[in-house]
């Protein structure tokens, strides 16, 4: 028999209590991992951003537009090889809860600017030839069962009225993290109708997308663009695509902060669950610990017994937790795939979960260890259990 065996036998002394503690830990570790995965998925758009693209938008706010006439000036600027633009459409498909992102883009430059969207050549040709044509992401098509040639009507919110489109292309993502849920329409179709119905708002785009020859020059080029449009009708703010995406994510900042707080609270809960079990355990073993010391066992042996038991429970709880996480994440990923291009727990998340469990194992044993260290042998022996 080794001391390790005693630790192990100790940890299953109260079978039900140990099982409940482990299950509590496992569920909490799983919840912690899910929240982390969720936060990561939230930032996935920013992670997918290309380093060679800049976004130029109104310096006032993203909801303010820029004149379409800026394009020619941007084309002439140093370090910029391509310019495209887009606008947020914000239409509703039957019901607001069917939300998906809709962008009006410049058809001719769109694919060149976003090589991560893969569209079959004939479908792209069809998109170029028809004003009402749209290209949609594969996941979006799956979500609503849309096929090429299907008509789709959206109710405008920013641009009121009923808008009719025809699906002419379905794109797939080049990478796993490429968003496959976007609805891409032609800006010229949008602008034509606006020009007719609300002429005051025509010729305005939401933001420009600039492709750079050299991503290392991002800061310098951004500065040059914004300087160029300084004191013009609409001043600009240029930033990398990643920064741009982040600014959207930050709009949901309160939610993310809330989730982070919850994830830390969960760690606190795990700690309390295990600390409670360990405290009960240590209290029950006061006389046993005193007796072991009578035999000649030392304080560091007790230290090892208590810490070891705490770590075993934490470790098993963590292990079951990440096992649950690996199952549940798939279920969750299917349920929310329309909203998140990628939802999967990565190695770092699994590792963080285990590390958290490990630290909790140490933390939960601190007070019981202190108690066991402080008590004198003769006092411990007098405790009858």
């Amino acid at each position: 028999m080794k001391v390790f065996k005693l630790i192990f036998k100790n940890s299953v002394r109260h079978r039900l209590r140990t099982i409940l503690t482990i299950l509590g830990l496992a569920l909490a570790v799983m919840a912690f991992g899910l929240i982390r995965t969720f936060i990561k998925a939230w930032y996935a758009g920013a992670d997918a951003a290309s380093p060679d693209r800049l976004i130029t938008r109104s310096s006032v706010s993203i909801v303010f537009t820029l004149p379409i006439s800026y394009k020619e000036q941007l084309m002439k600027m140093d370090g910029i090889s391509d310019v495209s633009y887009a606008n947020w459409f914000g239409g509703i498909y039957i019901d607001p809860k069917n939300f998906f992102a809709q962008f009006a883009v410049e058809p001719e430059t769109f694919l060149k600017m976003y090589p991560e969207y893969i569209v079959p050549a004939d479908q792209y040709q069809a998109f170029l030839q028809e004003r009402k044509a749209v290209i949609i992401g594969r996941r979006l098509a799956d979500r609503f069962g849309w096929k090429i040639g299907d008509p789709v009507s959206l109710t405008g919110t920013i641009y009121p009225g009923n808008w009719d489109f025809v699906i002419r292309g379905i794109y797939t993502g080049k990478e796993d993290i490429t968003d496959e849920t976007i609805f891409v329409m032609r800006f010229d179709y949008l602008d034509e109708v606006i020009r007719r119905d609300m002429p005051g708002r025509a010729g305005q785009i939401g933001w420009y997308v600039l492709k750079m020859d050299n991503p290392a020059r991002a800061a310098e080029i951004s500065k040059a663009v914004d300087a160029h449009f300084k004191n013009s009708l609409a001043e600009t703010l240029t930033e990398t695509e990643k920064e741009f995406q982040m600014s959207f994510i930050q709009m949901a900042g309160a939610i993310i902060i809330g989730l982070r707080v919850i994830s830390y609270l969960i760690i606190g809960v795990i700690l309390l669950v295990l600390a409670n079990t360990m405290a009960m355990t240590a209290r029950e073993r006061v006389s046993e610990h005193a007796f072991l010391r009578t035999l000649g066992f030392r304080k560091y042996h007790l230290f090892g017994l208590i810490l070891g038991e705490s770590l075993i429970i934490a470790f098993i709880g963590g292990l079951i937790g990440i096992l649950l996480l690996s199952i549940v994440e798939n279920v969750v990923a299917v349920a929310i795939k329309q909203f998140f291009p990628s939802f999967s727990a990565d190695l770092i998340t699994y590792f963080t979960c285990m590390a958290t469990a490990f630290i909790v194992g140490i933390g939960a044993s601190i007070f019981p260890i202190q108690r066991a260290m402080r008590i004198k042998i003769v006092d411990g022996l007098r405790v009858v259990d």
Binding site: V3, L6, T294, I377
Partner: protein, 224 residues
């Protein structure tokens, strides 16, 4: 080493409760030669357990000298005491103090984990100790599968497995029926006569005490 296993001189022990001194042992002087079997009797609260704990080196005297197994143990620090105890003392308690999660074999093996013995040597020692107490057949049993008398015999096996110089027993028959108590006393007597172990036993039971070679009485902290 002198031929005294225990040599106590002018021993005082007091406990303090909120700076109030509670004298428990007063001016105890006691010589116990090697091979002795001493029974310590006295009313409850007279300080018997306290004296035994002092002999075991798990408590410290307030004053006086206390030499056990050739060592002046009041001079040892905590670590030295722990080491000394594991070599020289075998302790037997009223309530056996077996680990419920360990088998009889593993309980007896426990003190040997502190030694440098190999697994094989440990096994031999444990088997010898268990056969001395007549429980070789019950090695794989857990304490809850044993009777009180058997549990106490496992505890005795555990106390002798390291071949200690001094066996201290605190009311070893206090929780047992008459028959089991008798068995335990026969065993202790054998340990004393056959294996020449020095034994100090606290007891309330006159029948147990008469098995000892000498009986001393403790009353209100003073030895008769």
């Amino acid at each position: 080493m002198s031929d005294s296993m225990v040599n106590i001189f002018g021993l005082y022990k007091s406990y303090y409760r909120d700076s109030l001194e509670i004298p428990v042992l007063r001016n105890i002087s006691l010589k116990i030669p090697e091979g002795e079997f001493l029974a310590l009797m006295g009313p409850s609260g007279s300080g018997k357990t306290t004296l035994l704990n002092l002999l075991a080196g798990i408590d410290q005297p307030t004053s006086g000298t206390l030499s056990v197994a050739g060592e002046e143990i009041s001079q040892l620090n905590e670590n030295e005491l722990a080491k000394w105890r594991s070599r020289h003392i075998g302790f037997i308690f009223q309530f056996y103090n077996l680990m419920p999660v360990l088998t009889a074999f593993e309980n007896v093996e426990l003190p040997l984990l502190l030694t440098k013995l190999t697994k094989k040597e440990r096994k031999e020692h444990v088997e010898t100790a268990l056969s001395i107490v007549g429980l070789a057949e019950r090695m794989k049993h857990y304490p809850r599968q044993l009777s009180g008398g058997q549990e106490q015999r496992v505890a005795i096996a555990r106390a002798i497995v390291t071949d200690p110089s001094l066996i201290l027993a605190d009311e070893p028959t206090g929780d047992l029926d008459k028959h089991s108590a008798e068995e335990i006393m026969i065993l202790l007597t054998r340990l004393n006569q056959e294996f020449k172990k020095t034994i100090v036993m606290v007891t309330h039971d006159p029948r147990a005490a008469e098995k000892a070679k000498i009986v001393r009485h403790l009353d209100k902290g003073e030895l008769d």
